[in-house]
Amino acid sequence: MTVSGDSFTKSIPALEIVDPGLQTTVQDFPGRLGLQSLGFFPSGPADHFAFRVANVLVGNPPGAAALEIPLGRFHAVALHDGLISVCGASGVDVRINDRSVSTWEAVPVTAGDSLRCSVARGPGFRLYLAVSGGIAVPEVFGSMSTFLVAGIGGLDGRALARADVINAHAKGAQRKRGYRLPLDLRPRYTSNWEIEILRGPHADPDFLTESDYKELLSTEWRVDVSSDRAATRFHPHQFRWARDRGDVTGGHPSNILDGCYPLGGILAYGDTLTVLGPDGHVSGGSTVVATVAHASMWKIGQLRPGRDTVKLKEINLDQAAGLDDHMQFTLRPQQLEPL
């Protein structure tokens, strides 16, 4: 067994990657939050709900580092005895050696076990794989999250590759007893999503017309195939706009003088609505017509590019607080079934 670091940050090899899948990355939560004035969005999981559940099921703090696996199709070998859990996209066949195991619950593994996830065939898009102890990689600007654009965080700032070895913190790595998330607390995945938003900062009446805003809420938006961790794009749509043209900054009426964007902001990028994800750009000169409620951001992370549709539902601050409370309730260890 290799032991690295001092006694407080001892880590041991946990997984060896056989097939990393499409673009699997190490993330933690809430990521690199608090550095927007230096140009950083936080990175971290695109679905912060399934991610945190995966961690608490194996006894980790909810924000511990774990793997984000888009689409599924992943194969690794366990390098020590402990627990793993897989949460997220549905229709995934998870196997330990030749035995099918459940998602949304902790599963014991022993060194040498093969862990495979199939492609996600059901609704949802991203899987989260947590290991007991939590993944151990160096922190960069205060977080272990991978930010691919800048090439920082995670494992050498990149997506995982074949033959990578992922370490876990030694403390808690060999935990034996985990939890299951009760069925009635699991999020419901679909291919036709309803996502809660708050109006603005740049909506009607000064930027959009009243009927533009109604269209924003009544349109069934198709999720473009080019969507990723930085941005989820909807199909192009021409609003009428409440003004003829943009400011000095550009010709399109959606253009304004550059400012910083909220995470989950829905930008009018010309005629394409774009939802800013955790790896998005932090500022620019587009109007932000609405903002996804914090507690609903997980749905953005589970949208399947090129397939799913979205209807936006406006809520107010009280309703957003209610969604927050519900999410916090679900993450409490008392709600989990001990195994």
């Binding site: 230096l38 400012g259 927050d324």
Partner: protein, 321 residues
């Protein structure tokens, strides 16, 4: 629920304020008139951000400046949107009018090699892979286009405009460490339209112009600003966050940048030293007086008005991408 929370008029000499809902975790505060590039609004934004950093509002986690706006992130369990707006309103009344501000501002001298080979390489790739007939490319570069767009007789006049002023970092954003710079000397205002469509590759260290802003690319990324040249690496993200305090490299809002012209061969040597950790970045701590700035701007106003008649007519003779 309306997108605009409220508007307020501040006492004399200060910009009007618009508070906007930006989800349940952020409030976007906008200052002054919508369509105007106004350094005073930006000075005010920075001062508000600094005040909040110095005496934190409980529940506020961070602020992020834009050209004329401030994004404020808060924890709704700790402070309601309503209380946050009231607290911000109080801060706004404490901030003196921009004209009386003296603000902390580092001065950073950076070498620039105009029309360098990586800028030409990026333009070349753009022509081959994206838009062969791009009107913003003349003689295989963007510089001659930007010169014509601004009504300069030749590229040396463009270079003078860039070298003869300090450039004010209005905010750092888009991607980590990327400064958006405005000229402090109004005679040096230059402008350019952006690429259409965007460029797929830009070298790290590239200096570009889009709209009224100069940016420096901290990373190899796509881009849409007209390329002018190249400077040193400005964001050492990979090695460690020590770069934030010791090395230059992460620009803070309110930093001033002075470009000094070098030939490309010299720049390559300086870049080599920077990567080896042997280059001493030229950074002076200091202050910037807004009142002196405003006095200078008003002294130069006649000269600026006559100078800006030329570009207006030049723009009409140049094709927009």
């Amino acid at each position: 629920m309306a997108a605009i929370i409220t508007r307020s008029e501040l006492p004399e000499g200060r910009p009007t304020v618009t508070y906007r809902t930006a989800g349940d975790r952020y409030v976007l505060v906008e200052y002054g008139a919508e369509a105007t590039v106004d350094l005073c609004a930006n000075f005010f934004v920075h001062e508000v951000a600094r005040r909040i950093a110095a005496s934190p509002i409980p529940g506020v986690r961070e602020t992020a400046p834009g050209l004329r706006s401030l994004l404020v992130r808060f924890i709704p369990r700790q402070i309601s949107q309503c209380d946050l707006v009231a607290a911000l309103e109080e801060v706004h009344h404490q901030v003196p009018p921009p004209a009386s501000l003296t603000v902390p501002s580092r001065r950073i001298v950076l070498p620039i090699a105009f029309d360098d080979s990586t800028s030409r390489e990026a333009v070349h790739r753009y022509l081959i892979t994206i838009r062969p007939d791009a009107p913003n490319v003349i003689n295989g570069n963007n510089i001659d286009y930007v010169s014509r767009y601004n009504g300069f007789a030749d590229r040396d006049d463009l270079y003078s405009a860039i070298l003869n002023t300090e450039w004010w970092n209005a905010f750092t954003g888009f991607y980590p460490g990327l400064p958006s710079l405005l000229p402090l000397d109004p005679r040096c205002r230059i402008t350019a339209p952006k690429y259409n469509p965007a460029r797929a590759w830009t070298a790290e260290g590239a200096v570009g112009l889009g709209g009224p802003c100069i940016v420096i690319h901290p990373l190899e990324t796509p881009g849409s600003y007209q390329l002018l040249g190249r400077t040193l690496p400005i964001a050492d993200l990979v090695r460690s966050e020590r770069s934030r305090s010791l090395d230059p490299v992460m620009f803070l809002y309110g930093d001033r940048i002075q470009f000094e012209r070098v030939e490309e061969g010299e720049l390559i040597e300086l870049r080599r030293q920077a990567f080896e950790g042997a280059y001493e970045y030229r950074i002076e701590l200091g202050e910037y007086s807004v009142s002196e700035h405003l006095a200078e701007v008003s002294r130069l106003s006649d000269e600026v008005t006559s100078r800006h008649a030329e570009p207006a007519s030049a723009v009409r003779k140049v094709q927009i991408p």
